[in-house]
């Protein structure tokens, strides 16, 4: 495993983008296009997984030598959302998270870029490396997605060939990871706000049924709301069913009676 990043020897040896050869000019163009795609990404009204999958696809284009990429988002320090640009990336990441060892886990845990030119011989991941080597995947660059002091997750870029990523590819990956992290961060916050709104809406709808059932019990017995709730709780325990289920049944029966009365009139 090789460490890179500001201050590392490899980082210092890397020529700056746009400094010379035809290949580097083409690489810079790929990076520019990928960054432009990243900035347009939001216009498509994507959900979080779609957005992450697009980011992974752009990363493959931005980083020379890449055959596939995956993104992992952390929530409560656990891998929560995992997406991949290609099926072989899904297989590799399934192994990584299955055994709890691999470059993405290292990059996120240690907040630094890691890469390997020969995974099956890399001592950093003695179980992960040989398994993915047998799948024909030999090179990886893993980039942490950083937002201030926190780690949002990590981006894994894989290649089948050995020595696929030179220092310049790693640097381009690091350049790409900065705006990618911002897009991912905003999308994650928006997705969480939407999830909370949906949960609140659903909870209020269910709670409305419970309160209507309490009203039915109050109407029948003249009790207070608190006494009605106690009755509902006793019914729930006696019937060994959730209070919300008992409430819905009470409500359904009362509504059915009301409708039947209307039909008879």
């Amino acid at each position: 495993m090789t460490q890179t990043g500001p201050g590392s020897p490899e980082h210092g040896d890397t020529p700056p983008p746009g400094s010379g050869t035809g290949r580097s000019v083409a690489d810079d163009e790929d990076l520019r296009e990928s960054l432009a795609d990243l900035s347009r990404l939001a216009t498509a009204r994507l959900d979080l997984r779609d957005l992450l999958t697009h980011v992974a696809g752009f990363a493959v284009r931005a980083i020379p030598g890449a055959d596939g990429a995956g993104l992992t988002l952390l929530e409560n320090d656990r891998a929560d959302t995992i997406v991949a640009s290609a099926e072989f990336v899904r297989e590799v990441d399934a192994i990584q998270y299955g055994i709890g060892e691999g470059p993405c886990i290292t990059a996120a845990a240690e907040r630094r870029t890691v890469h390997s030119a020969s995974l099956d011989k890399d001592p950093a991941w003695p179980r992960f490396g040989p398994q993915v080597g047998r799948l024909g995947v030999h090179s990886v660059v893993s980039l942490p997605l950083l937002a201030g002091d926190s780690v949002l997750g990590a981006m894994n870029v894989y290649a089948r060939a050995e020595n696929a990523f030179d220092p310049r590819a790693v640097e381009l990956g690091e350049l790409f990871a900065v705006p990618a992290a911002i897009s991912v961060q905003n999308a994650q916050a928006l997705a969480q706000a939407q999830r909370l709104a949906a949960q609140l809406q659903s909870a209020l709808t269910h709670r409305a049924s419970i309160d209507q059932a309490l009203g039915i019990l109050m109407s029948r017995s003249g009790c207070t709301p608190a006494e009605a709730f106690d009755r509902l709780r006793v019914m729930s325990q006696t019937q060994n069913r959730k209070a919300s289920v008992v409430a819905q049944q009470l409500l359904d029966e009362a509504v059915a009676r009301a409708r039947a009365r209307h039909s008879a009139d």
């Binding site: 939001a42 216009t43 009204r45 994507l46 929530e75 409560n76 937002a147 201030g148 002091d149 926190s150 897009s183 961060q185 905003n186 994650q188 916050a189 928006l190 969480q192 706000a193 939407q194 909370l196 709104a197 949906a198 949960q199 609140l200 809406q201 659903s202 909870a203 209020l204 709808t205 269910h206 709670r207 409305a208 049924s209 419970i210 309160d211 209507q212 059932a213 309490l214 009203g215 039915i216 109050m218 109407s219 029948r220 017995s221 003249g222 009790c223 207070t224 709301p225 009605a228 959730k242 209070a243 919300s244 409500l251 009362a254 509504v255 009676r257 009301a258 409708r259 009365r261 209307h262």
Partner: protein, 192 residues
């Protein structure tokens, strides 16, 4: 951020109403707060208003008791029907650094396919509460209990809601309270 006391109890009550073991509203609030703090370092809080059957329920989360007095900027946007929320549902974010939401709001505008005017910057600089909490839950409970009483008296849900509106002389929640008061301690003969 204080998620204890009455707010914790309300979130627990609503989580129980959800009836889904994997969903915990307290966790969802905490995760959103963590993400917002990371996306906008001077983030101070938010108010999410969900409108159900015309009644608003507002969840306000504030970083601390001093947060309302440090709000320097806000970003408000509508919650769309994609989330299953009713018309008028909104979310307002608060932060302490002027301009903190400019880039964030631009991203949200694009992500939700909103018009630029749909995201209101700096229009809500005073949170509706001084501390974190839920507003409107009691009113919603009273309204639904009154609807339940009317259902038991032979109305369908739509008729019960319509009758509440017809009976309304002050406002819907006051009428609901009057119906509940008139029912309490008056059991119907032969009632279960």
């Amino acid at each position: 951020m204080d998620l204890s006391g009455t707010l914790a109890a309300d979130l627990t009550t609503l989580t129980e109403a959800l009836g889904r073991p994997a969903a915990d509203l307290t966790d969802s609030v905490q995760n959103l707060a963590d993400s917002m703090r990371s996306a906008v370092p001077s983030w101070l809080g938010l108010t999410m208003t969900i409108v159900l059957d015309g009644l608003p329920l507002a969840l306000t989360i504030l970083d601390d008791s001093a947060a309302p007095h440090r709000v320097a900027t806000s970003a408000a946007l509508p919650l769309t029907s994609d989330q299953g929320t009713g018309p008028g549902s909104t979310i307002v974010f608060y932060a302490g650094t002027p301009g903190a939401f400019v880039d964030f709001a631009a991203d949200l505008t694009f992500a939700l396919s909103l018009e630029l005017d749909d995201v209101a910057l700096d229009q809500h600089l005073t949170p509706p509460r001084e501390t974190s909490g839920l507003s409107g839950l009691t009113d919603a409970a009273g309204l639904n209990q009154a609807i339940g009483i009317l259902i038991d008296r032979g109305r369908t849900q739509d008729e019960a809601t319509a009758e509440l509106c017809r009976l309304t002389q002050v406002d819907l929640t006051t009428t609901a309270k009057q119906i509940i008061r008139s029912t309490s301690r008056q059991p119907r003969p032969g009632a279960a």
